[in-house]
Assembly symmetry: C2
Homo-oligomer: 434 residues x 2
Amino acid sequence: MTTLIKNAVIITMDDEKPVIKGDIGITDDIIAFVGKSKDFTPERTINANGNIVMPGLVNSHTHSPMTLLRCYADDLNLQDWLFNKIMPVEDTFTQEDIYWGSLLGCWEMISGGITAFADMYFLNKKTAQAAVESGMRANICRALQCFDETTANFEKDERMREALELYNMYNGAGEGRITVEMSAHAVYTNTPEYLMFVAQTTDRLGAGMHVHISETRRENEECIKKYGMTPTALFKSCGFFNTRTNAAHCVYLSDEDINIFKEYKISIANNPTSNLKLASGIAPTGRYIREGINVALGTDGAASNNNLNMFEEIHLAALLQKGVNENPEEVTAYEALKMASTNGAKALGIEKCGILKKGCRADLIIIDTDKPHLTPYYNPVSAVAYSAQAADVDSVMVAGKFLMEKREVKTLDTEKIKHYAKKKGGAINAACGC
Amino acid sequence: MTTLIKNAVIITMDDEKPVIKGDIGITDDIIAFVGKSKDFTPERTINANGNIVMPGLVNSHTHSPMTLLRCYADDLNLQDWLFNKIMPVEDTFTQEDIYWGSLLGCWEMISGGITAFADMYFLNKKTAQAAVESGMRANICRALQCFDETTANFEKDERMREALELYNMYNGAGEGRITVEMSAHAVYTNTPEYLMFVAQTTDRLGAGMHVHISETRRENEECIKKYGMTPTALFKSCGFFNTRTNAAHCVYLSDEDINIFKEYKISIANNPTSNLKLASGIAPTGRYIREGINVALGTDGAASNNNLNMFEEIHLAALLQKGVNENPEEVTAYEALKMASTNGAKALGIEKCGILKKGCRADLIIIDTDKPHLTPYYNPVSAVAYSAQAADVDSVMVAGKFLMEKREVKTLDTEKIKHYAKKKGGAINAACGC
C-alpha cells in the first residue's frame, strides 16, 4: 500500500531540516520520502490542506487502566493518594476492568495524537490485548512489588509469574508493535533482595526496564535513611541498568545519580502534570537535557493528571522550566516537541521512529490548523508547543495505517468502551459512597 | 424570553451548594431558578443531556489584538520580547488591524467558554466595537504610557485623548455589556508626574483601573532603584487605587504591597502561562488567596501564551501552586474554577455574575462530557479543572443569549475573520523576512 499525504507543513523533528513544506510518501509502514517526489505513484492520496504533519506523540509513562479512576481522588499528596485512595480500589480491579480501562486509555490517546505508549500496571495481558486491537505501539510491563522480606522462593512469586507470562505471550505481538518490558515498581515498594532477582531475570531475558525513580523528596529521604543511598544508587547496586531503561519522574536526582544516568544511557520519562498535581515537585529537565540525558515526556496515569493529553505535557515541558529557572530558553518549543516524539521513541527503544524522514516508520499525526487559536501562526513548532489542543489532532497513523481519520477512531468501538467505563465508574462511586 | 436548560450537572460556584443536578431557568438575561421549578414555562428548552453547566469564564487580563502576533516571537524574556520584537510590529497596527485582531480574540474566547474579558491595548474603540458585535462582556482600556518627562500639558496627550474618547463613546455600550476603564500600562512605561495625572483623571471619572504590577524581578528592582519604592507603593504614592483596580501579574509583591492590596481591595489578575513563558516567574497565588485578596485569572495576550485558553490557565492555577509549594491543597480545583469565574467577575466589577444562582446574570457555558478524557468522572469540579479542554465547550450564553450553540459561533463571521488574520499574518511575515 502506498499513501501520499500532500500539501503539508511538515515538522520533521530532523534537526537538519526541522520544517519542510511539501508532501510525504509512505510505502506500507515506512516513509518513502519527505518533501517532493516525481516518481511516487500513490494508491491513496490525502490532502493535508496546509495542515501540520508531525511524528506521532509518544507517551513514555502511563498506567492506562487508571482512566477508570479519573477524578476519583484529587488534591492529595502521592503517599496519601496512592496508599489510602487509589490502591484500595485497584485491588478490586478484574481482568475485564483492565481490558476496558486500557481501551479507554487507547481511545483517549489516539484522539490526542499519541501513537505509542509505555504502560506499567498489573493484570496487563489485557492491556496488551487492548493495545494490539487499537493498532497503537505499546511497551507494556507488569509492575513488580515485593513487601515481604521473608519470601524464600521468588520464582513462585505471583507477580513475577504474571510478568513472565505477559512477556512470553505478548513480546513482539501485533506485528511487532508490542514490546514487553520488565518493571520494578519503585524502591519503596520492593526489597533489595527482590530487586536483585528482578535485575537478574531482566538481564536473562534481555528485556527493557521501566521503573519509577526519585518521584518525591520523601522517597529519596527514606531510601537514604534505610539503605544509605539514593534510589538510583540502590537500583544500580542491585544490578539494574544493564538493559535499556526508562525511568519515570526523576524529580530529585543527585549529581551522582545524573552520572549514573549518563553512564548507563538511562532515559527519563518526565511527567510534569502528575508531579505538580501530587505536589511532588518540578524535575530540572533543562539541566538533564544539557547533561545529554534522553528526556522523554509522559502523562502518568489519568488518576494523577487527570487526562492522557500529551499537548498539555508539551506546553508544561516548555513553559515550566522557563518560569522556574527564569530563563526563557531553558527548554525551547522545539526541545519540548522532541521530548514528546523523538526522545519518547528512543526511551521506548522503537528504532527509526519519532522523526519524519525517508526510511523511518510511518507513525505520524495531522494537526488541523483551521482553528481560531492557530490563526495566524508564524512558526509551526511554536504553534504546536504553545497554542494547539489535543482536540486539534485530525488524523493519526501508525505503521502506515490510519487509526483515526478526520477525528473518527477506526480501530475501536468507542460506544462500547464508554458504556463499560461509565458502568464501572458508577460501581466504584456506589462502593465508596461518593 | 424564557429559556430552560434541563438535565444538567450544574457547577454553581455558590459555596453553599457548589454542585446541583437539575435544571436552570432563565428569564431574559437573569437566572430565574437553579435546581427544580414546577411553575416555570419556558419558550425554549435545551436538553443538557447530563453535561456540565457552569458560569462563563472571565479572562481578567488580555490584549486581544495580539492574536495577530500569535507565535511571532517565542522563547525570549519580557524586555527583549516586548521592546525588540513585539512593539516594532505593534507600531504598524492600524484601526482595521485592531478591529479584526479583536474579533479573532473574541472568536477564540467564545469558542473556549469565555463570556467576559478585560482588555488593555490601544486604538481600542475598535476592540469595543468588536466586543459589542460579539455579544461578550468586556472591560476595555487604553494603556497609557508616557516616556517624556518634559510633557508640560498632559491634557493634550494623544493617548489620554484616545482613552477619554473611548470612555465617552463606549462606557455602558452594548446594553451595558461594555465597561471602559482607565489604565496606566506600568511603572516602567510612565513617569510619576504622568501617573498622578492618570490617577486624578480616573478619580474624576469614577472609572475602574487596569494596570500591570510587579510582573518581573527587574521591574521591581529598577523601580526601587529609581524611586526608592516598589511599583505598588509608587502607584499608591501617585494617588492610585481609589477606584476598583485590577492589577495584572503581581508575581513579586512584598509584604507591604500585600497590605496595600488588602487595604484598597485591589484584585489580582494572575497569568500563569504568560509568566512562565516570558520567564517572569510564578506568582504565589495560594498565599494571596489565603491573605483574602481577590485573585482572578487571565491569559494575557496571545503573543506571550500563545492562546486565549482559560482551561489551560485553570489547569495551571491548580497545578503550579501544588508543585512549587509541595502542598497538594495549596490551590484546589474548586479555587481554580473560582479564580476563572466568580473572582474574575468581581475583578471586572460585573455584579451578580460568575455564579449560577437565582437573580444572577445568565452568563454560562455548557461543557460536553461525552469525551474519552471526561469518561468516567467522579467529580465535575475536578473534571473541569484537570481533564477538560477548551474544545469541550459546547455552548456559550451571555445575558441570556447564546453566542455559541453546539460549537457554532452565532455572532461572528468567522470566515471573514480568518481571511483578514491570515492576510495580516502574511504581511507581517513578509515584512520581517520570517
